[in-house]
Symmetry: C2
Subunit: 341 residues, 2 copies
């Protein structure tokens, strides 16, 4: 690499016959600097191609103005949307962003968090991996008072903030809807119960059954990784038993879609024989035939709020002292669950 030496504050100072400190102050619009001086500084900086050196600044200020994000996977519409919400806020507030993926693995999550910690991010935004067991890897952050905000897949921990939806209620509504459509033997395709999102949806499912006088049957519950492949395999297995389900409540759209495909291949009709409800309102829910009934929730807003709250915390600006923010969700009813009669 060429070492075209960078223009520094000193170069600008020399060119203007000022001191470096004045230039530094002028550059960031410090009130004590004369207006004319500032103008001169800005002009010179621009014409000389001055670019501030963030390391020097971070080294000195002991903060990076960068926040780290750890998500399970990037390849869902939901996550991409959350992240654009985060970006909107961080851009506006002048923060940088480092995104990393745990690939749904608790082990990788540990390494992501550690890498971000080593990069000295000022704060972190996290949605937990599928199989993260404990929060020990966050202790280094807690010890240094680096703020952490969890979103979607959250965890209970003293002093942490969370941005979520009411997964219990959402699960309850989805299941109730199926029951109202006449379903009595509803399969639940659920995710790892370590994660709030899945345990709550499951709890909602059980409660809805209970409240409608339907006995809970553990045999109808399948906890899996919620991939398309798992969805298909489970339904295949189901059709080899005498379970004869008439409904499916899946904890994400991917597995719901897979279930529909498998149901149809087995010669049953959706929704007449088996009604299906998914979760997330991914675009694929409008590609599958019949279109998938699913739970929509405000991904972009989750991102925006999580980022805002985190930055407030970084700057100790938190006016209100909340620990959990719950956003609204809504059941989008489409053909996959709607029986005509």
């Amino acid at each position: 690499m060429k070492n075209a030496k960078d223009v520094t504050i000193y170069d600008v100072a020399k060119a203007l016959n000022l001191s470096p400190s004045t230039v530094s102050r002028g550059l960031k619009d410090h009130p004590h600097i004369h207006k004319e001086t500032k103008k001169k500084i800005w002009a010179a900086a621009k014409s000389m191609g001055y670019q501030q050196n963030k390391f020097a600044s971070s080294l000195r200020k002991r903060r990076t103005e960068t926040i780290g994000v750890v998500v399970p996977k990037l390849n869902s519409y939901f996550m991409a949307t959350v992240i654009s919400g985060v970006e909107k806020i961080t851009n506006k507030l002048g923060y940088g962003l480092i995104i990393s993926q745990s690939q749904e693995s608790g082990k990788q999550e540990i390494s992501c968090v550690s890498t971000l910690f080593d990069s000295r991010v000022d704060g972190m935004l996290i949605s937990l991996a599928f199989d993260t067991k404990n929060l020990d890897h966050f202790n280094r952050l807690f010890n240094k008072d680096i703020p952490v905000v969890f979103f979607d897949r959250v965890a209970d921990c003293k002093g942490c903030m969370s941005v979520v939806i009411d997964n219990y209620k959402a699960g309850y509504e989805a299941t109730t809807h199926l029951i109202q459509q006449g379903c009595k033997k509803i399969i639940h395709l659920g995710g790892n119960l370590l994660r709030n999102v899945y345990s709550e949806r499951f709890r909602g499912y059980k409660q809805a059954l209970h409240d409608n006088g339907i006995e809970f049957n553990q045999k109808l519950v399948f906890i899996c990784d919620l991939t398309g492949q798992s969805g298909r395999e489970i339904m295949k297995k189901v059709f080899k038993t005498d379970l004869q389900p008439d409904g499916v409540f899946a904890a994400n759209d991917t597995s719901a879609v897979a279930a529909i495909l498998e149901i149809q291949e087995a010669g049953f009709r959706v929704p007449d024989d088996i009604a299906v409800v998914g979760f997330n309102n991914e675009p694929v829910s409008q590609v599958i035939h019949p279109n998938l009934t699913t739970l929509d929730y405000p991904a972009r807003e989750i991102g925006e709020i999580a980022a805002t709250v985190l930055i407030e915390k970084i700057n100790n600006l938190q006016s209100i002292s909340y620990s959990t923010i719950v956003l609204k969700h809504s059941l989008i009813i489409r053909q996959s669950s709607l029986r005509k009669n």
Copy 2:
């Protein structure tokens, strides 16, 4: 934030009665340091909770060991896969990664590149936004000899490297396949022709028509943003004309899937009335009914190669001096284009 002062190299040195430089060298396994000394240093660093300060190091070394990635959007399976390929390599080689999205906007791309530049990344990986017109925003990088590697959506520029597939050939194969299935009036849903990927696919389409004695008809070509919405709107429009197409070659799966849905809603059959081929092999291609014929290409490998090549260039290790690397693709034939007779 608590200011629990960090443990520095000096603290470790003092504790061990060594000099800071020895500790610095020991920490990075410098060959001139005695084995025993290194062991002591590592032990002490660990027990004292030493964490290296990257700014100080970057400031001094004038490099960040971080690379920047600018992609149009994160929410496709393709991009997420490319990025996991990139991550694999950067992790292995000890580089950090900053990911940012241009949201398909040339304007945003400029700001992403500028932000990454200001963060002093050692190199950049770029896939261009839909409507990027020129490469002026890369000039600052070129001037400072910061290496740039383009992938997928690439651009011609002296000294830049690219990782791509042969989009011309892929477009040619897709179109030829449709012709072999008996299609004579093939619609092309294409993207912005500023982008190599779309102009090349289009060129392949035209050449395939030509080579099979079918006259090219500009009326069958629709250049759009390739979203589901556009795909649907265009097909709607088509059905209001007397074009009567019997095939569709779409430059991505999203628009191909939208086209299928619209075709079916208009009362035509896929593939018998209209055969459809997409591009990218996104998971949705196996959800749509009939399953979508599409072009598969090695996303993960693209990411791995692009990252490897970039880091080689950063370190001036380039053994071979290539400017473009072309990877293999393959046409995945499924039901959406396969006519029985």
